[in-house]
């Protein structure tokens, strides 16, 4: 029914065509999808001894958590890089996840541990997200919506902001009495096996809603990639779009940090790889590629370490190592140009 379609999407007309003909990007996406699928299968089945009826749901829950983190980190990083129009900044490098920990500590510090422990986890999460959005909005406004600044300066300020947030939360934690501190520490790093299934489900609903929204907004991101002036010239309501994206990023960062704690360079790693593999900047390809890469890294990496090398959970350390090197290379290459 073309008439109705016209009402909803004024730009959609008969004979529509996409910008780019799929070729290499589609191939890359297919390959990544396959590898991700293999990783997931291996994760679920390798090394199972004994009762499948117990192992599968147990691992399934863990897998659901990992996939959630992969989605959240990959999407938030790519979007953040689009909004800030560069390839080095990521939410965690700008101290967003340290900010989340600070907000969490702050709530506990100012409300008291008793209230904190008794609080409805959904209410608490909602409160944390709202505070995050407020803070990150301020930080962003100050860093990006004003005059133009040297990118390296912004990155450095972001990193030091992260250190500052961490130090302040550390300080607050020390001010709490040691018991309260223990409560807090437990709530920071909810391991996948102990996470509240309801919270996990809710997070999934939120992330899926975000994915749907992103799909609808998709075309705007490509225009944002052209830079602020060009985007405004092409009729993008820059302010509104940027604020929407920041909101989405805040929610995603809160979800991923709540699940696994801060992993500074994970996002950078998958976003850089996605850009490198896809070869053009269409979000239609980059976003799914980044998500798939994140899944491969997390699920595949976890399987490899756990089942093959029997290394247990040192994955985040390895990711930090690789991500740090990618960052240095990016910075040096970018600066040399």
């Amino acid at each position: 029914m073309p008439h109705e379609a016209n009402l909803r999407l004024p730009g959609r007309r008969v004979g529509e065509q996409r910008f780019v003909t799929p070729g290499r990007p589609a191939l890359v996406l297919g390959l990544l999808g396959m590898i991700a699928l293999v990783s997931i299968c291996c994760f679920m089945t390798l090394g199972v001894k004994g009762n499948w009826g117990f192992v599968l749901p147990y691992r399934g829950q863990k897998l659901a958590g990992l996939l959630l983190v992969a989605c959240a980190v990959a999407l938030s990083t790519v979007l953040f890089q689009t909004v800030t129009n560069n390839r080095i900044l990521t939410p965690s490098i700008m101290g967003f996840d340290a900010l989340y920990v600070l907000v969490q500590t702050g709530i506990m510090f100012f409300l008291g541990t008793g209230v904190f422990a008794l609080m409805d986890p959904f209410l608490r999460f909602g409160m944390e997200v709202v505070l995050m959005i407020g803070f990150s909005g301020l930080l962003f406004r100050w860093l990006f919506l004003g005059e133009e600044r040297s990118l390296h300066l912004v990155v450095l300020i972001g990193i030091i902001c992260g250190v500052f947030f961490r130090s302040v939360s550390n300080f607050m934690q020390r001010m709490l009495d040691p018991n309260a501190f223990q409560v807090l520490q437990d709530s920071f790093f909810a391991s996948f096996s102990t996470i509240d299934p309801m919270l996990l489900k809710l997070s999934w609903v939120v992330v899926l809603a975000i994915v749907l929204l992103l799909w609808r907004m998709g075309h705007v991101f490509d225009v944002l990639n052209l830079g602020r002036a060009t985007a405004i010239n092409l009729g993008v309501n820059y302010r509104r779009v940027v604020i929407t994206i920041l909101l989405i990023i805040s929610v995603l960062v809160a979800i991923s940090t709540a699940l696994v704690g801060p992993i500074t360079f994970f996002g950078l790693l998958v976003a850089s790889l996605a850009h490198g593999l896809i070869g053009n900047s269409r979000h239609r390809y980059i976003l799914p590629a980044a998500v798939l890469l994140a899944v491969i890294c997390l699920v595949g990496g976890q399987t490899l370490l756990e089942r093959v090398f029997a290394f247990d959970t040192a994955l985040s350390i390895i990711i930090e190592f690789l991500g740090g090197i990618v960052f240095i290379v990016l910075v040096i290459r970018g600066a040399a140009r």
Binding site: Q17, R18, F19, G227, L234, G235
Partner: protein, 252 residues
């Protein structure tokens, strides 16, 4: 018709645009000239809603640029800045196709494709259309960006120093192209230019600025004169007339 009234803009405490009121008629090429720091680029940014004025209003065909929805204005007026840094890796054709975004929101119709072809043709980019922007020379990149705003098919085209980084040959051909666009397609073109001789040779109107104010506005013959230029640039500049066009000799 672009109307600006009572525009003010300061960066920190320094005023950059100081009570500017100017109206630019539809049709033809208008060039804004003046020394560094005169506020030329800022004026263009205010007109094109890239920057918000501290005071004053700008209307384009009666539409207030700050309150009109961005997407509506984007079909009426386009702006190209001199520094187009971006991280996206795009082919020339992709970039030009983005010019259709205000009309089609990212999904090209047949009509849109025709516009893209025409713009590529106009800027002689057919052979380069599948190359990536980062593989091009400065002049070629500049042409690609101009093709994009051309493809946007707006009545008004605002270009901030389009001759920046172009050598003589490319600068001259860019100006010829812009003149063709204004004559053949009936577009209104507003430029910020550094070279007063290019401005004098190709423009229908010249706006001369200094210290955030408009000093003079008029056809080239009235603005490119020793008296006006002395006031604008603080320099003794002789003006000769060659083939009916004023030529400023500022090399002495």
């Amino acid at each position: 018709m672009i109307n600006a009234t009572g525009l003010m803009k300061s960066f920190g405490k320094t005023p950059v645009i100081n009570d500017v009121s100017v109206s630019l008629a539809a049709g033809g090429i208008t060039s804004i000239v003046g020394p560094n720091g005169a506020g030329k680029s800022t004026l263009l940014a205010l007109i094109s809603r890239l920057m918000r004025a501290d005071a004053g209003t700008v209307t384009v065909d009666g539409l207030d640029v700050w309150t009109t929805p961005a997407s509506v204005l984007a079909r009426r007026l386009s702006i190209l800045r001199q520094d187009n840094h971006m991280t996206a890796r795009l082919s020339v054709r992709d970039l030009v196709a983005f010019g259709r975004y205000p009309h089609s929101q990212g999904r090209l119709t047949l009509e849109d494709k025709a516009h893209v072809e025409r713009a590529l043709d106009y800027m002689a980019l057919n052979d380069l259309q599948h190359r990536f922007l980062d593989e091009l020379s400065g002049g070629q990149r500049q042409r690609a960006f101009v093709a994009m705003v051309l493809c946007q098919d707006t009545d008004y085209l605002l270009l901030d120093e389009p001759l920046n980084n172009l050598d003589m040959k490319h600068a001259a051909s860019m100006m010829k192209l812009l003149r063709r666009v204004s004559v053949e397609l009936g577009k209104t073109i507003v430029l910020v230019l550094h070279d007063i001789n290019f401005a004098g040779y190709y423009s229908d109107q010249i706006v001369a600025m200094r210290d955030g104010r408009v000093l003079r506005q008029g056809p080239p013959a009235e603005v490119i004169t020793s008296e006006v230029l002395r006031e604008v640039y603080d320099m003794e500049i002789q003006v000769r007339e060659i083939d009916g066009k004023p030529l400023a000799l500022f090399y002495e």
